[in-house]
Symmetry: C2
Subunit: 335 residues, 2 copies
Amino acid sequence: MAEANRRATSREVADAAGVSQATVSNVLNRPDVVAPETRERVTRAMESLNFVVNRSARELRMGSSEACGVIVLDIANPFWAQVTSGIESVTGPLERAVLLASSGESTVKERQLLHQLEAAGLLGLLVAPTGEHLDELWRIQARGTGVVLIDHDDATGRLPAVALDHVAGARLATNHLIAQGHRRIAMVNGSIQNHWCRDRRAGYEQVCRSAGITPLEVAVDGMTVASGFDCVSHLLAIDGLTAVFCVNDMVALGVLKGLSERGVGVPEEISVIGYDDSEFSAMLSPALTTVRQSAFAIGAAAARVLFNIESVESANRSLEAPVLVDRQSVVPARY
Amino acid sequence: MAEANRRATSREVADAAGVSQATVSNVLNRPDVVAPETRERVTRAMESLNFVVNRSARELRMGSSEACGVIVLDIANPFWAQVTSGIESVTGPLERAVLLASSGESTVKERQLLHQLEAAGLLGLLVAPTGEHLDELWRIQARGTGVVLIDHDDATGRLPAVALDHVAGARLATNHLIAQGHRRIAMVNGSIQNHWCRDRRAGYEQVCRSAGITPLEVAVDGMTVASGFDCVSHLLAIDGLTAVFCVNDMVALGVLKGLSERGVGVPEEISVIGYDDSEFSAMLSPALTTVRQSAFAIGAAAARVLFNIESVESANRSLEAPVLVDRQSVVPARY
DNA sequence: GTGAAAGCGCTAACAT
DNA sequence: ATGTTAGCGCTTTCAC
């Protein structure tokens, strides 16, 4: 049985190849500096011993790792799954590992994860913060771990941030509704702890007010299909309602379902607009009118910023402005 | 400026607290063994220095890490996002980090990732293999890193595997179609490189044959909405087709879309059945009839096996059998 | 209950 | 071109 039950060390490779450990290290890290013949011999030794470098040792020695940590708000949400894909699209080719974690929008879980990830000694962290308390992130940055905010700004400008313009997106959605003649428009919104929700509400309110109509907000707990479904009774209690703006497509899905179960026709009786343009949205019936923003692009941009491939400014500029995807769930109001 | 630009070491904490490094280590790992008063002093020093242990050093010393690596086939697919959630549901409370990577169903990418993850010196790996070549995984296991297969069996029994019964699920779907009187049933399937696709096809074919009807397979490249959409022309070329079994809900979504764009009514003209019961499936119109299997449960089960919380046998037993979710996209065939 | 010392596997000066 | 050596920050006997 040639197979050891333990990983081979560079020391063993060196012995097997009849060279010093330093040469093995050179073969690994600066192959050009070692004689082709020696290199060949060392490489063969590595293969026959199934050598694989011990990353902990390397990192300890070098003082840092190449990998990055990612904290998203909810991995089960398609938006974040897309963001993750975007991040991987840049880390993959760079052969950089990604340590992914999901805070589930819980601030305490976020703190735990931050602590764990910092202890992992990573090159940097990409984080979608759960709240406004950026101080822990500032501290991590000060201690030497790069931090890039995903879809959340740092008002103090200490942390680089790659963010989508939610205010603009919400304005787009609300304007569309108003342009179709709607005046009684509700917004189904998540917790305003969440800056998305805050920003989207801000956009919604701005447009409402300048059109002289009263904003009507219905809050839900999580931004999930279930919460959308559950809030339908509140929606139906609103007098004269003709349109609803949902904070995202998942919620819109729930609202659609709740409305249809109660026999309320969409879009004939009530128009519904979502946000995100999730993969399923075009396929709903009625196909969901929504606002598209590029989740994939924001993930990739944040990773590029962390790895110094691109400046924050340029990364943010590269993010497309939100666009309205006009489908079937919004029609002109009938009075 | 008290804030150092460098992480504090246990040595520094020791000096600040006027104790030895060993005591700091004890406070960290065996708090009970150190005098309460000393412990208190050390803890304060840690806080004031913002100490956080260097995981690389700890792991180097201990010879292994607590974290685990995960390789899924495609993180952007809701099924895998759910599996990931399941894994996190067990690693989270255990404070174990998860290193997530996605192979994108590419075998070469898989090899790269395996290499990277092994080099990270993790406690174990949870992997959904892209193909049948398990030899690299066997080697990793032999070298001392735990490996648990997600949704893929190891015929040799060397690797513990947590797997769903795709053959049974496909039988369920096909039987349902036949019970509704369908005889010309196509299956839209992904690459048979993928064992899911193979298993689901096997179930489909078994049932077809024993009912004396000819299996009709249409292959697509990836298991995505786009591939489903693209194969509709092939589907429509099949003479007398009345039903289609899609390898998953994403593909079904694409097929639904393609069919509706061509004015083919579902379910009046063609019945469609999916697989996975993705979150959006109930909300489609028609609501998608599909097969449910618990992606979340399989992730959690695999993690429990890796961490020795549960035996493979018990974990597999705990996985629910696939169930048919009868909705609107399948109706009796009309002749 | 606490400290001194050794060493995990690797890389990087420096010497040859 | 290759070898020697030191040491990254931590845990862990083994003394005291």
